[in-house]
């Protein structure tokens, strides 16, 4: 069978474009490495979802090699040894199933960092070949289709909006949010009400949020969370021109005469090799795996990987820079009956320093999101085993656990600032390291630019000020060059010059006309926000372009 379009992946970047193409009547098949979990399959099983990484490939099946710098040398390790996976949510809907859904839009200047702020030594910052004006209608479309709830809070750097309000009202807030507002006012900061990709009101077959108290890292049992699966894919099930094949790990895209003609995949349940033919191919397997697939798709015309004759595939990989911090609250800082309320959201961010002044010059900053430590009791209890490095047990430990879980709450913050693109952060493949299917695994070199840490420290200090003003104790933070493995972008940046970019402004490969990449890979810089909203918006944008020009391929 010949499909119109074959999409590799089913996450946010895959599903936005799928939605547009299926609506336009094109015959679309999606290939998903993992299984299909629906609302009724998800539960609040901390062991499975948070401690055993059950929805990522086992290390026996696949892994990554990681290169980090030690004493000036690049040292390679395997995630099989470190057990720190760089896969994220390998089921239909991808990692969007497990996000917390803190949704911030990129700002207009994020699209023009190089021309606004000039070059930074050691970083490959370039302007986007698009702008906020082109993206705005798609950010808005995400608000409606995926579902974003919130209340517009104005602050100095707020981006322009084409609509006044979010389509869904803000979610219910925990009493501590008012305390954050109070502290911010005293400090002269703007408490920003964080928009969330979580429905406060039902939408179609999706129920509203039921404040389960277990959100981030868990699949959503009501469909309120704006996963690609719940918001875009499930509504298309049953359409004749749409199908999803699960347990399909794509090993290679086969090229003939400058075009992709088929995808070779293995059915991970039967171990059988299979193939799909289509007129147009779209890759969206999350940044690291998308670059890996192109690099492993070698042919006579593309000896270094598909669309990689300029050697750009895998380059300028991005994570999110920043780190985390926390403060402790107990009955001295807030009445216990209010503090210990469960399930309600904090939904506060600091955005005043998205851009800030340093030595009389404006520089690029970032944001801070506040959130309670996840309710996960096992995670909280196991952390109590040590007291200043000393192992505790018996009554001493029991008292500590009881106090921690019954009498205190930890308010965390997460700092997000730009992970500057550099020559030291990329994806490559090496025939020496292969997965269970004989396919070279992705090697990820992770080098962070020192500026990432400076900006992160600046923002963390502001968040610490808020916690201290609120009366928190044990206020601390950790800004680190270690990346969060779930926040990936870059590797196939878009641009006008085929020598320095993989994709054109429509996310179509410069070198292969029937190949698009629509996950976060296209981003030359990522903004100081989590990437999901931008990925959804871009996926819709590319979808519109393909539909408009479909006669070229179909």
């Amino acid at each position: 069978m010949m499909y119109d379009v074959c999409i590799v992946g089913t996450g946010a970047g895959a599903s936005g474009v799928a939605h547009k193409l299926v609506e336009a009547g094109m015959n679309v098949v999606m290939l998903e490495r993992g299984g299909f979990y629906k609302e009724e399959d998800f539960s609040k099983d901390e062991l499975a979802y948070c401690k055993r990484e059950i929805v990522t490939p086992s290390f026996k099946d696949s892994y990554h090699t990681i290169e980090t710098q030690e004493s000036g040398k690049w040292v390679k390790s395997s995630t099989r040894d470190t057990e720190r996976t760089y896969f994220n949510g390998n089921i239909v809907g991808g990692s969007s199933n497990f996000m917390s859904g803190y949704f911030h839009r990129m700002k207009p200047k994020d699209f023009k960092l190089a021309s606004t702020y000039g070059a930074i030594d050691g970083a490959n910052v370039v302007d986007w070949v698009s702008d906020y004006k082109e993206f705005e209608p798609y950010f808005e479309e995400v608000e409606r289709l995926v579902g974003v709830s919130g209340e517009v809070t104005h602050f100095e750097h707020h981006e322009p909006r084409s609509t006044k309000n979010f389509p869904y009202p803000a979610l219910d807030e925990h009493p501590i949010s008012a305390k954050i507002d109070d502290a911010c006012k005293k400090l002269g900061f703007t408490p920003y009400k964080t928009p969330r990709a979580i429905l406060s009101k039902a939408k179609g077959k999706r129920d509203n949020c039921y404040y389960s108290n277990y959100c981030g890292s868990y699949g959503c049992s009501s469909g309120a969370k704006g996963s690609a699966r719940a918001s875009l894919l499930q509504p298309m099930l049953g359409k004749k021109n749409f199908s999803i094949i699960t347990h399909a790990f794509v090993k290679k895209l086969v090229e003939k005469e400058g075009k992709v003609v088929e995808a070779l995949y293995v059915d991970t349940k039967t171990k059988e090799d299979k193939r799909i033919k289509a007129k147009l191919f779209i890759v969206a397997g999350q940044a690291v795996e998308s670059s890996r697939l192109l690099l492993n798709s070698k042919s006579k015309s593309f000896p270094n990987g598909l669309s990689n004759n300029a050697g750009q595939v895998g380059k300028n990989l991005l994570f999110s820079a920043g780190g985390v911090g926390s403060g402790q609250f107990d009955e001295d800082s807030m009445a216990l009956n209010k503090l210990m309320v469960e399930g309600l959201f904090v939904n506060r961010s600091l955005c005043d320093w998205y851009f800030y002044e340093e030595d009389g010059k404006e520089v690029k900053g970032g944001i801070v999101d506040f959130l309670f430590q996840h309710a996960n009791p096992m995670t909280q209890a196991t952390k109590q085993r040590f007291d200043n490095g000393k192992l505790l047990w018996g009554k001493e430990l029991q008292d500590k656990i009881y106090h921690k879980l019954n009498k205190t709450k930890q308010l965390n913050f997460e700092v997000f600032n730009d992970w500057l693109p550099t020559d030291n952060c990329f994806v490559s493949v090496d025939d020496k390291y292969k997965d269970a299917y004989g396919v070279p695994v992705a090697n990820i070199r992770i080098g962070a630019h020192k500026r990432d840490l400076e900006v992160g420290e600046y923002l963390a200090k502001k968040a610490e000020d808020v916690l201290k003003k609120m009366g928190a104790t044990e206020v601390k933070s950790s800004i680190s060059p270690a990346p969060p493995p779930n926040l990936q972008a870059g590797g196939c940046r878009f641009g006008d010059d085929p020598k320095t970019s993989v994709l054109n402004k429509h996310c179509q490969a410069h070198e292969v006309s029937n190949l698009f990449v629509t996950d976060g890979s296209f981003m030359p810089t990522g903004g100081s926000v989590t990437y999901t909203w931008t990925i959804y918006a871009n996926s819709f944008r590319v979808g519109d372009y393909i539909v408009k020009n479909k006669n070229i391929w179909i």
Partner: protein, 173 residues
């Protein structure tokens, strides 16, 4: 969000984690029963019965460990590690099982002092003991939700019907 995996937690002490991958892959022991008997005794010292807190035996700490150790997410090397520590403890302190709780506590503290692997091994067992205290009872620990009850913990809804998030849906659509 920024996730930390199981092993990173286990490595949160100074020594933890490192020994695990370095251990030789010894043949799986034929003294498994002794291993779990030793573990039961150690776990009861680490988590004894409190005024309200259930003890490790009461909430099924060893049963939990024996159960999760059979799943593919539990590394063979972890089991080898548990075994090698237990053998060391029993070789060094052969009457450990017949000691009073107070003596056993002192023995474990001496074991940490005298053996490089001691603290790491006990921390490792304690990690799984605390998992057993608070995991969903479907995994064999937290018997009668005794861990949750002790901590007035409200479990998330829905609770799992099957372990390890197995998916009972049809897969190809």
């Amino acid at each position: 969000m920024k996730k930390i995996t199981r092993r990173v937690f286990i490595a949160s002490s100074v020594l933890a984690g490192t020994a695990l991958v370095l251990l030789p892959q010894e043949a799986k022991s034929n003294i498994k029963i002794d291993l779990f008997k030793t573990l039961t005794a150690v776990q009861e010292v680490l988590f004894p019965k409190g005024l309200v807190a259930p003890s490790a035996i009461e909430f099924g700490a060893t049963a939990y460990l024996a159960n999760v150790a059979t799943h593919s997410s539990f590394l063979d090397s972890d089991l080898v590690y548990l075994q090698s520590g237990a053998e060391k403890l029993m070789t060094e302190y052969p009457d450990f099982l017949s000691q009073s709780p107070k003596e056993q506590d002192e023995t474990l503290r001496a074991f940490i002092k005298n053996h490089e692997m001691g603290e790491n091994w006990i921390s490792f067992i304690l990690y799984f003991t605390l998992e057993a205290l608070l995991a969903n009872p479907i995994y064999g620990g937290n018997k009668n939700e005794s861990g949750w009850k002790w901590l007035n913990h409200n479990a998330g809804v829905p609770q799992p019907k099957v372990p390890y998030a197995q998916n009972l849906q049809g897969e190809v659509i």
